[in-house]
Symmetry: C2
């Protein structure tokens, strides 16, 4: 079954691991639009952002020019605890599909956070520590980001305060316990620990919370507690910078075996996984050195690339953060309650939004039952139970491989398997019981949401 | 922090992976006592076992002489999907402990079953398929073995019927859903699908089931359904044979870097993980080629090595299986309900029992709160959330490393990290909430249990 020259799993030696992050903005002709102040519509400066974010992270956020950032030695040490991640040749999947396509996936799930989120969590925690801070705050919904941040803070001896949407706190106690085991304090949001939380509790005593409210609480605590800053796991430019380690490792591994991908596929929520995976390949494309088909895959129920608008919008539903120019469904947009496949964010990384706008990548959306069918097929073929998010990429990789089967083309497909589904079994159960259905928003719903976008010239 | 010559993680090349399993029985002067028929007390022959087990597995079970079993090509292919597993140098743990000891762990948790169980599941499923069977049956408690077997059967296109103890079926729905996602049928036991299940349900309508009952149901279905056999995930000689891949990989990796361990530590329930890890080292010890301290770690609440008796006993509480000579607490022994740390089996692998009886290894028991303290310390140092079972080995590895800190000795400690704790968060929650306590059986309880052992000359 196996091609003798390519192993099932390509692990880089530690000496081959990337020693810098790649900043794709340096190679973009059209830079991503700056974050702007919601009141003045002026670009946010470093000093505007300083009360909220760590200083070095702000510098990274605003830097559109430096191509390579050396990865600090301490972060390299932490990376070695769970990286390099394997680039897997999906021999078994290929055989089950009977496709001439060669399929590879970069697997980021082999760590306790269960996803790629740790790559940026450790970086952000490191810079907070370096700045002499006592701790960081953040919000979490399903809990992957919160888990990753808890792990990073435990390693560095940094305090970690996580505001977890109350309904998730109550319904997903296992993620919460992982965070507590790593020493994080986890507070159900809204809570009485913040003024915004108390206000919301007074107005809506029975509320189960929202991501927007959790962000507001986390930002309030960060800005009002000496020695604390707020950190975020996706969307931001700095996060894509850290996540470039995924793509760099992938490229080194492919180059080592002389493999050139034809198609690169990643799931897209806020863009951290996709942006990280494609970075060095996109760089080659931007510099005219190579060409690749790059495909972003999003859920049909939350289709920001494929049905959103490219406009300034709030990053959070609580509307306390700066405005970002991005593909968005509107900050109020919430996927239907039956949506179990993750990737619920209304917007998209400004970097990826600009690249998509400029025609450097494609996007497609898939309904969730098709996503879980692909997830199950993949699990039974390759052994790994994938995260619902990652399974969006699996769906399209399988579809492209099946096209190759029809045409006889031996294309090389690389996709990002960003995480495992061990904490998503409620969704799998729904699928296994035949109770999962699809939801696609109507044009009217989206227009209604777009009408509430902030007016920015 | 890092010793430059030893990487954080030693991954073998695929070409370096072991191509045979090692049968430690071939080097034992005192062979493990044979399984005997509970009625006649005669040794079980291959034909006695044929209605229950697959033919080739019976041959492996009874073969005390063949030293090396070539691993079939198809199994090597499956192994490559998730093996080699990393041998990790615990630099971060060493630093947090400030110990001169050098600590390594063999990590078997990076696959969807979450443990080493897959190593034997794929082998057993393979031989069932090769025999032309339609499917296999098994029982599962917490669900790791059932998950592993489901994955193996999905890969090979074999039907898999799992009888899951009813209380686990209801309280641990996530493991159940993983098995269903891999296409297994999972039946809460006792059920109305078997005569023994119906009998128990009639006698005890409200029962939440037991492992003994689940075994009885799985064996009944295997022996009464054409084309089916029963498979088991621990205790048996064949399982230790397959699990030798853990130790063989460990030894190859250590040899590659010229490392000779002083102490080898593993947790012990039925013995599959410990037996696999120590196999090749024990072989050297038996042949007089090297010496190692080998330590089995068991929970204080289920101390078969340290407080059990070496005697013939039933392998199952349902008493339908042959008798095995082993260290046992009595087939009726059930750890206290507050025991959350796994390793609940009343007996122990006959191979390990004989080796322990003959003085080739040590055993120690640890209370569960100390185990979870070690688990948390390890998670915060090394990033991986360990299984409670594996954390027994972590506890003793840390204790040995702390002894080195006192004496200044630079001992090399290798322990088995057999799995992850992602599905054990109810236990972690209990620990995090300070609600976990210890239970140690009294001598009277154990004597009462021993008095029910079958009388065998």
């Amino acid at each position: 079954m196996a091609n003798e020259t390519i192993p099932y799993k390509i692990y880089l030696e530690e000496s081959e691991m990337p020693r810098y992050w790649y900043n794709v903005r340096a190679d973009m002709k059209n830079k991503p639009a700056p974050l702007i102040n919601p009141a003045t519509h002026e670009p946010m400066s470093a000093s505007d952002l300083a009360p909220v974010f760590c200083d070095e992270l702000i510098a990274q956020e605003l830097d559109n020019d430096t191509r390579e950032y050396p990865i600090p030695q301490e972060i390299l040490g932490f990376y070695k605890m769970y990286r390099p991640s394997p680039l897997v040749r999906a021999y078994c999947l290929e055989e089950k599909l009977q496709t001439p396509a060669k399929i590879y996936y970069k697997f980021e799930g082999n760590n306790t956070s269960g996803s790629h989120k740790l790559n940026s969590a450790i970086a952000q925690a490191y810079y907070a520590k370096k700045q002499g801070l006592k701790g960081v705050t953040t919000e979490t919904g399903a809990g992957q980001w919160g888990t990753a941040l808890s792990m990073a803070c435990a390693y560095l001896g940094l305090d970690c305060k996580v505001y977890m949407v109350k309904v998730s706190y109550e319904q997903k106690p296992f993620r919460r316990e992982v965070m507590r085991t790593y020493g994080a304090s986890v507070t159900p949001s809204p809570s009485d620990t913040t003024s915004i939380g108390r206000k919301i509790l007074a107005e809506h005593p029975g509320t189960t919370g929202s991501l927007g409210c959790a962000i507001s609480e986390a930002v309030e605590v960060a800005t009002s507690t000496p020695g604390y800053r707020y950190v975020l796991g996706s969307v931001l430019n700095q996060v894509l910078l850290h996540q470039s380690v995924i793509g760099l490792e992938t490229k080194i591994a492919l180059d080592k075996y002389g493999i050139k991908p034809d198609i690169i596929i990643g799931c897209a929520g806020g863009g951290s996984n996709l942006g990280g995976l494609i970075s060095p390949f996109m760089g080659e494309k931007l510099r005219g050195e190579a060409d690749y088909r790059i495909i972003a895959v999003e859920p049909a129920s939350c289709p920001s690339f494929t049905r959103g608008v490219f406009a300034y919008d709030f990053c959070d539903t609580g509307m306390v953060c700066p405005l970002a120019k991005m593909y968005t469904l509107g900050a109020d947009y919430i996927p239907a309650p039956n949506h179990a496949g993750g990737l619920r964010y209304h917007g998209m990384s400004p970097v990826l939004s600009q690249l998509y706008h400029d025609g450097y990548m494609e996007a497609t959306s898939v309904p969730q039952t098709k996503v879980f069918e692909a997830a199950e097929f993949f699990a039974r073929s390759e052994g790994i139970l994938p995260a619902p998010e990652s399974s969006h990429a699996i769906r399209v990789a399988i579809d492209e491989a099946l096209k190759c089967k029809e045409t006889g083309e031996e294309k090389t497909i690389v996709f990002g398997l960003s995480g495992t589904g061990y904490f998503d079994l409620v969704a799998y159960q729904k699928f296994n019981d035949g109770l999962m259905d699809d939801y696609i928003p109507t044009d009217e719903e989206l227009q209604e949401s777009f009408s509430k976008l902030p007016k920015v010239d």
